[in-house]
């Protein structure tokens, strides 16, 4: 099941409303510097959200999104800095690492029949722990310019980082997967009712395996985007992606219990969050009270979104 258009429209209206409000009320919101940073930040957050969204779709969770993203980023840093390989080599290697780690999660889930929450809780520690053992927490801070400039560059002298295009390309591919491919439909069928899917002859294990592999790949993409933006592969990378990975999909209408995902919703959810935190910062609210305002605004935004849906749903 993909999200109904009226819900998306509601989220779009709320997000645009905030853009208009901040453009008027927050000095500097529309400056090139701010917009560039806002959209690039949103792009990374949304990609992290995608990595969680795909596993939520099959009714699983992955607490290891941050660990995989962090390790993939560190691995890419190692390949580029220590082995002196170009990004063209490092990027596919990092993606492969992400996929393999995702497969690892899936295999453990399938073999042990344990809840994905428990498995990925443990593997998140295992993956990050293995990285710390190998690297002794040494960062890779001499990444090639050709790689980092990709994050800082502008597209056709518009203040938009190429990373935003990467996120959009990933989004389009995922949209196509869920809309047009049988694998996408199988993923949602498994999420909606795993038992029914199994009974109807679907190879649930295959779907679980592929989905976690996909999630690993997406986490690796996010990790690569982050190290390009940070100019550094830091051993702390990914350590606070946990909530971030759930928030954009959840705001965008993806069900945490599975069976329903929304690619455009996740994108809008991520943009909404980035917009709110950037806009509120520009309004010079006392830092220590800013969190309160952010919480209230988040509740209002989600509430308005729901309300618009109710009204919109009634109208159609």
């Amino acid at each position: 099941m993909l999200l109904r258009p009226v819900a998306l429209l509601a989220l779009l209206i709320v997000t645009s409303g905030f853009w208009i409000f901040f453009s008027i009320a927050a000095t500097g919101f529309t400056s090139d510097f701010n917009l560039f940073a806002l959209l690039r930040f949103a792009a990374i957050q949304i990609t992290i959200g995608f990595a969680q969204m795909v596993v939520l779709g099959i009714g699983d969770m992955s607490l290891a999104v941050g660990a995989i993203g962090g390790v993939a980023g560190m691995f890419a840093g190692f390949v580029m800095q220590s082995l002196g390989m170009p990004p063209e080599v490092a990027v596919p290697l990092a993606l492969t690492a992400g996929i393999l780690l995702g497969f690892g999660n899936a295999l453990l889930i399938i073999w042990t029949r344990l809840n994905s929450f428990i498995v990925t809780l443990a593997t998140a520690s295992l993956i990050t722990g293995a990285m710390l053992i190998v690297t002794h927490a040494k960062p890779f801070s001499n990444l090639p310019d050709s790689f980092t400039s990709f994050a800082d560059g502008e597209v056709a002298s518009v203040p938009v980082s190429p990373l935003v295009l990467v996120m959009l390309a990933v989004g389009v591919a995922l949209f196509f997967l869920y809309r047009n491919l049988s694998l996408g439909r199988e993923m949602l069928a498994v999420g909606a009712n795993r038992r029914a899917a199994r009974m109807s002859g679907l190879s649930v294990d295959r779907v679980v395996l592929l989905t976690h592999g996909l999630s690993g790949a997406l986490a690796a993409v996010a990790g690569l985007m982050a190290i390009a933006a940070d100019h550094t592969a830091s051993p702390g990378l990914g350590s606070n992606w946990l909530l971030a990975s759930f928030v954009s999909p959840a705001i965008g209408g993806t069900l945490l219990s599975g069976g329903l995902v929304s690619v455009p919703g996740t994108i809008l959810g991520g943009v909404l969050l980035a917009t709110m935190s950037s806009g509120l910062l520009l309004m010079n609210i006392d830092n220590f009270w800013l969190t309160v305002v952010l919480g209230v605004v988040l509740l209002v935004a989600v509430g308005l979104d729901r309300l618009t849906r109710v009204v919109g749903g009634a109208a159609t």
Partner: protein, 338 residues
């Protein structure tokens, strides 16, 4: 049902708009002198003296604006957003404590590309970096000094417990190595036990430090090189009433200073947060007015560290102020060409 829901949300929205309008946005930045912002890594009592430092610096150097602005949580993303926001509001230079000493390089490069100078204060941004200077305690040297003091008080023998910060922090690695070095110099007379990754919060540190004390009854000395383990160990020694264990801590939390006064700690390694922010504001203003960093000037500038024993508690803040003034007075000639 729907109209009730509508009323509910409109009420909340109204409150929000009022709250938002109450906060007045400020205009763009002036040309000179500089508008300077000091941005810590997250909410933490260590940074509170910087609040006064930027007020004093604004008055002393007639800065056009001076602000102390704290990210709401310890996340590099939040610090990036805050810096982006302040730069968009026209601030000309920043003194930052990097939330992630490695990953802060991204935002520093972005700001450098806009010709906005950034100084690291309190903790360095990992090199190579576009950060102009790092005004901080030499964390390795400070940990080494503290460990030496603890080992000397232990009579150069026994078991030393080292409680430290998160392993992903580059400073933690330096501190671990420094304490190892101090212990190695005893040629095996002192055994080292290191527990790390416990500076997450007070709860984690409190439990882990006490468990370590329970596990190793033979501990005769403690060195802590992070805030939460220091407070936890100081409290544990007071609770146990144990003055046989010789401890050196870090920073000047009131609990720690009281423990030094009462003889539970032989001392604590003080840092100079006030001076770090004050000197950074000075340097940013000079660079903004046209000075350049000398080509042979170092990246790291030691802002001072001091073993605060019972005799220094009354005076250490003045000592740091004196040191700060002397660093500022020689700064231009030493590090800048104008």
């Amino acid at each position: 049902m729907e109209s009730r829901a509508l009323a509910r949300f409109l009420a909340i929205a109204a409150v929000l708009v009022v709250a938002a309008c109450g906060a007045t946005p400020s205009g763009g930045g002036g040309k000179s002198p500089a508008a300077v912002a000091i941005v810590p890594g997250g909410p933490h009592p260590y940074f509170e003296p910087m609040r006064q430092a930027i007020v004093d610096a604004k008055a002393d150097f007639s800065l056009s604006k001076g602000i102390f602005s704290v990210p709401t949580d310890w996340k590099q993303d939040l610090q990036n957003q805050l810096l982006t926001s302040l730069a968009s509001q026209g601030y000309d230079g920043f003194g930052i404590f990097p939330t992630d000493g490695n990953a802060a390089n991204g935002i520093v490069s972005q700001l450098a590309a806009k010709n906005v100078p950034v100084m690291a204060v309190g903790g360095c941004v990992q090199e190579p970096t576009k950060t102009t200077f790092c005004l901080a305690t030499d964390t390795g040297a400070s940990a080494y000094t503290g460990a030496k003091a603890a080992i000397a008080a232990m009579g150069n023998k026994g078991v030393l417990l080292h409680g430290t910060g998160l392993v992903t922090d580059p400073n933690t690695v330096k501190r671990i190595d420094a304490v190892k070095r101090a212990v190695a110099e005893t040629n095996g007379a002192v055994t080292l036990i290191t527990i790390g990754d416990i500076d997450i919060d007070a709860q984690t540190a409190d439990t882990a430090i006490n468990q370590a004390l329970a596990a190793h009854k033979d501990i005769t000395g403690i060195i802590t090189t992070a805030y939460n383990p220091t407070v936890a160990a100081a409290k544990a020694l007071r609770t146990l009433g144990d003055k046989r264990i010789k401890m050196v801590g870090i920073d000047d939390d009131p609990v720690v200073l009281q423990a030094v006064t009462d003889g539970f700690l032989i001392g604590t390694m003080g840092q100079n947060p006030y001076g770090q922010a004050y000197i950074a504001a000075y340097a940013i203003n000079q660079i903004h007015m046209g000075c350049k960093k000398k080509s042979d000037a170092p990246y790291f500038i030691d802002s001072g560290t001091l073993l605060i024993g019972p005799d220094k508690i009354a005076t250490y803040k003045d000592d740091f102020k004196t040191l700060t003034k002397s660093i500022v007075s020689g700064f231009k000639a030493k590090y800048l060409s104008c």
